[in-house]
Amino acid sequence: MYLSNIYNKRKKSGRTENISGLLMALIPVVGFALFGLIPLVMAIVIAFMRIPGRGDIANGTFNSINNFVEVLSDKMFWKSIGNTFVMALSLPICIIIALIIAYLLTKNIKGKKVFRSIYFIPYVCCAVAVALMWELIFNQNHGILNSLLGLTRETAIPWLTSSDYYLGVMILIGVWSGTAYGIVLYGAALTNVNSTLYEAAKVDGANSFQSFIHITLPAISPTTFFLVTTGLIGALQEFVRPQIIGGGNGTGPNNDGLTIVFYLYRNAFSYDNTMGIAAATAFLLALMILVLTVINFAVSKKWVSYD
C-alpha cells in the first residue's frame, strides 16, 4: 500500500515534469516554427514561382526553374559574388590581428583594461554610424584623408567613387569593425591554455616563438575555427556597409558595392515582379553557405584539436 502510494506519487510527479517541461521548452520552438520554418519552406516554393508586383503571392504562377536560369545568366549576380568574396578578405586579416592583439594582452603589462575597452568599442557601434564615420575620412571633396595627404580639389583621390580604391576601402572598414569580436574570443581562449605546457616547453629549451607555434596555436584552434566558420557565414551576407556608403540605392562605382544580399534585396524590394528571383538568389546563397560550411568542417579535422 505504502509502496504503491510512493509509486503513484512519483508517476504523477513525472507526468507534471513532462508536461511543464514541454510547455516551457516549447515557446522558442513555436516561434521558430512560425517565423523560421514556415518562411523557410516558403522560400523554397517562391524560388520556383513568378510573383507579380511586390509580393502579391495570391496571383503568383509556377515558373519552373526560370528564376534560377535568370539569376545564373545575370552578369550582375556573378559580379556580386566576386564583390562579396573580395570584401570577405577582411576576415583573415581580422583574425590574424585579433590573435596578435589578444596574445599581447596576455603579457604582463599595465593598462590592460583600458586597451581592452578601447578595442571593443567598434563592436557596439551601429553599421550606419561606422559607415558615416569612414565616409568622413574617405570622401573625395571634404574627406580628411585627402586633406592630410595635402591634396587639392583637382588632385583629390576618389576613394569611394573609383573602382581602383573602393573595395580596398571596404576591406579596411571591415577590418576596423571586425577585430573586436575576435579579440574577446581569443582573449578567453588564451587564458584557458594549460600553463604547465608552457613550463614544460621552457624546460625543453623552446623559445617563446616556438611555444606559440606548437602550444598556443593548436590549443586555440577551436576558437580560430569558430571565427572562420561564423565569420564566413556573416561575410557572405554583407549588406549594410556598402548600402549606406553607396548612398541608399547606389551600388558603388562600377557596381563594386553590389554584394549578394544587396542583389537579393534589390530584386525583392526595389524592383517589381522579381521576388521569385530574389528567392532563387537566396536559395543559391544558402547552398553556397552550406557547401562552404561543410568544407570548413571537413578541413577542420586536419587542423583543429579538441583536447
Binding site: F32, I121, Y123, A129, L136, V184
Partner: protein
C-alpha cells in the same frame, strides 16, 4: 670570473626583456590609436563650422573655432518627425526603444525558461526539440527575407513595427543555448530540495534559477538590446511611414539631408547615435565581454 659573466648575461637578458615590452606597448598603443582616431575625427568635425568642415584643409584644432551649430542643426531638424517639435533623430531614438525593449525582455524570459527546461527537466521529445532549435541557428537570416516579407504583407503587418517585435518575443535559439549551458552548471540538488518542499517547476525557475543567473541574463539581454538598437535591415524593409522610423533609419535620412551642406551636423548625428550604446557598454563592460566570450566557446 664566472659570476661576472653571469651578471653580464642577466643584463643583456634584461635589455632584451625591456625591449620586448616596449615593442608590445608600441603595438598596443598604435592599435588603440587606429581604433580611436576615427572617433576623434568625427567628434572634432562635429564641433566645426559647416564651411570649415567642407574645405579640404583639415585641422585638429578648428581655425574658425568650436561651435555647436552641428548639434543645433540636428536638434532643430524636426521635418518628418511624428511628434510636434521633437527632432527626427530623438523621435527615432524613442521609436527604437519602444520597438526593441518588449522583444528583448520577453524574449530573454522565454529563452531562459526554455533553457531551464532543456537543462534540468525530463520530458518527452526533449532531444528532438533541441535539435530543431539547433537547426534555427544554421539558417542564414537573409534567406528568410523574401518569404517573411510576403507573409507579413499578407497578414497586414508591413508598415507596422510588429515584424520587428513579435518574432523576438518567442526567444532566440542562441540565447537558449547560452542559458542552457549556464543552467547545466547549477547543481541539480538545489532543485531536488525545492521539489521536496513542494515547489512547482515554474516557481523553481523563478525563485532559484533566475536569481542565480542574473549576470548571464544581463549579458544576453545587453547583447540582444545592442543587436536590436543597431538593426538596420529590418526597419528598412518593414517601416515605411516616417513616424515609425527607428534611430538607424532616421540617421540615414539625416545623412541624405546633411552630407553635402552641413558635414558637422552629420557627424553630430553620428555621435548622438553611438553615445547610448557606448555608454551602456562602458557601464556594463564585464557582462558584455562575458556574454560574447561564452557564446563563442563551444562549437
Amino acid at each position: 670570473m664566472i659570476k661576472k659573466i653571469k651578471i653580464r648575461k642577466d643584463t643583456s637578458e634584461m635589455v632584451k626583456k625591456t625591449l620586448a615590452k616596449t615593442l608590445i606597448y608600441v603595438v598596443l598603443v598604435l592599435f588603440a590609436l587606429w581604433i580611436f582616431i576615427p572617433f576623434s575625427l568625427v567628434l572634432v568635425t562635429s564641433l566645426k563650422t559647416a564651411s570649415e568642415a567642407n574645405s579640404l584643409n583639415f585641422k585638429w584644432w578648428p581655425e574658425e573655432g568650436f561651435t555647436l551649430q552641428g548639434y543645433q542643426a540636428v536638434f532643430e531638424y524636426t521635418t518628418g518627425s511624428a511628434i510636434e517639435g521633437v527632432p527626427l533623430l530623438i523621435m527615432g531614438f524613442f521609436n527604437t526603444l519602444w520597438i526593441i525593449l518588449p522583444p528583448t525582455i520577453l524574449g530573454l524570459f522565454c529563452s531562459s525558461l526554455s533553457a531551464y527546461a532543456f537543462a534540468k527537466l525530463r520530458f518527452k521529445g526533449k532531444n528532438w526539440l533541441f535539435s530543431l532549435l539547433l537547426l534555427t541557428m544554421m539558417i542564414p537570416g537573409t534567406i528568410l527575407l523574401t518569404p517573411s516579407y510576403i507573409i507579413f504583407n499578407q497578414i497586414g503587418w508591413v508598415d507596422t513595427p510588429l515584424p520587428l517585435m513579435i518574432p523576438g518575443m518567442f526567444g532566440a535559439a542562441t540565447c537558449v543555448f547560452f542559458m542552457r549551458q549556464f543552467y547545466m552548471g547549477i547543481p541539480t540538488e538545489l532543485l531536488e530540495a525545492a521539489k521536496l518542499d513542494g515547489m512547482d517547476y515554474f516557481t523553481m525557475f523563478w525563485k532559484i534559477m533566475v536569481p542565480l543567473s542574473v549576470p548571464a541574463l544581463l549579458a544576453q539581454g545587453l547583447l540582444g538590446f545592442i543587436g536590436g538598437y543597431n538593426d538596420y535591415l529590418g526597419p528598412l524593409i518593414y517601416l515605411q511611414s516616417p513616424e515609425m522610423y527607428t534611430l538607424q533609419i532616421a540617421l540615414n535620412l539625416l545623412k541624405d539631408k546633411f552630407s553635402l551642406s552641413n558635414v558637422p551636423a552629420m557627424m553630430a548625428a553620428t555621435i548622438i547615435s553611438i553615445v547610448p550604446t557606448i555608454t551602456l557598454y562602458l557601464v556594463a563592460q564585464k557582462y558584455f565581454v562575458e556574454g560574447i566570450a561564452t557564446s563563442g566557446m563551444k562549437l
